[in-house]
Amino acid sequence: MTGAESSRAAAAFVSPAAIVSLAIAAVPLLFILYTSLGGAALSLEAFENLLTSTLFKRSLYTTLEISVSASLISLLLGYVVALHLARQPPRRRAVYMVLVLLPFWTSILVKSYAFTVILGREGVINLVLSWVFGTQVALPMILNRFGVMVGMTNYLTPFIVFPVLASLLAIDPALYRAADIMSARPMRIFFTITLPLSLPGIVAGVSSVMVMSLGFFVIPALLGGRQDVMLANLVDFYTRETLDWNMAAAIGVLLLAMVVLLSAPALWMRRNQLAGKA
């Protein structure tokens, strides 16, 4: 097949999807940009308003704070699981994998609801504590920062496990045998072999988890309080409650910019890996 013929064939296969994506993904993004500039006015007023709005600044700070801490905690939790999975023989690994896949596919609403049952004022944990101490215990664990963190780390952990596991499985077992023969201590093996060689997985996992958490909407809305309004909730507030579409769109543009900046390290890492293989 000649190049031109191949292009023509490709056009036939790819164009339906490309047209739908242009019409339903690219055009809406342009609409956001257009609206953020005040429509035909092409002014930066909405962005100026954002920078002077206390509500926005507080919510931006909250979003960054929650995203960074939730990503780091999920990294710790996910790494422990990935290490355990990497140690298993393939058949048993497939079985343990289900324990990661089921939560991965569980609806975020089911999880949020479950956490209101577990952490609520009359939830499982408070019930158990009341029974143990023999008095009425009602620790506030939802509608505050704690609830948001528990919900988000729970949701994000599987997204760390997959890339880190892939990195761990790619480590040449001969390195471990060599370390063993040299009688290196387990800690030393971890810090000189396992951790540095799993770095690509860590970078990929953390950056994708950060990207996801910047746009979190459901969990802060259902498990957080007034102090935990994230940018996504602010978009909802401006769009549907105050009907200030320009402000909502300006936040959307900023979120998009942050996400693109954050996905850069993962893409760069992948390209380096590909270059390394070639």
Binding site: V20, A26, S107, L109, D236
Partner: protein
Amino acid sequence: MSNAFDLKDPLKRRYRRFGTLLACLVYAFMLVPSLIVIPVSFGTQHEVRFPPREFSFELYQIFFSSAAWTGPLLQSLKIACLTTILALATAVPAAYGIVRHDFPGKKAITLLLMSPLVIPAIVMALGLYLYFSYIRLTGSTLALVLGHTIYVTPFVIVMVAAGVQKLDSNLEFGATLMGAGRYRMFATVVLPQLMPSILAGGLFAFLISFDEVVISWFLVSATTTTLPVKMYSSIQWEISPVIAAVSTMLTVLSFVICMLTAALQRSGRGQ
């Protein structure tokens, strides 16, 4: 990584046991929310409690006998089915074209098709809301189906492209050599071999659409409310115990689809 001789070292064994203990705690943390809704769903409507004091199917009866819940359920099923069909119809040929052909602008088009993986759902939801308000489509079932289709397309492309990469391109070349046209070859040689990946991609698309809440939250109207949107507002305002029954059914659905796709991918690999 694990072999018998390195476990003789007691220090190493202690670290390993500690690692396993930590991992089990994290597995439990990840699984508990998916599982705890099951016992709660067999309680009664007067209290949300774990463990429930008495066993009953009351919450399921309420769910299936109230139009406020079955309406959104049917709506979600309809949207998920239409989304799956539309996404498969566009994404399967696209995945094939991307893997097998080189063409000008391939990188840009691939980026466009995969972009919903990175763009936050809230940003897509806002964009679709502004755009569909402009063309007066907001609130319609069509708007929801189109929004969901864009959202699930990259997942289907990834799964199907992986399937195409495993195919033997000599068969396609052979068919073309024997005089089969491009579409005939695709329909009779490629599609049958791709069935496991297509089914797996379709199941994923269905589940993602059925569970999707952020885009739907922006696009629904009172008459087109989906099950996740109904759940979302229900958790936000009243925490009705019926949600436990819905959650249990959703968890079972996720589990079944997760197992089916795993089996399909394994059968695809066996070919």
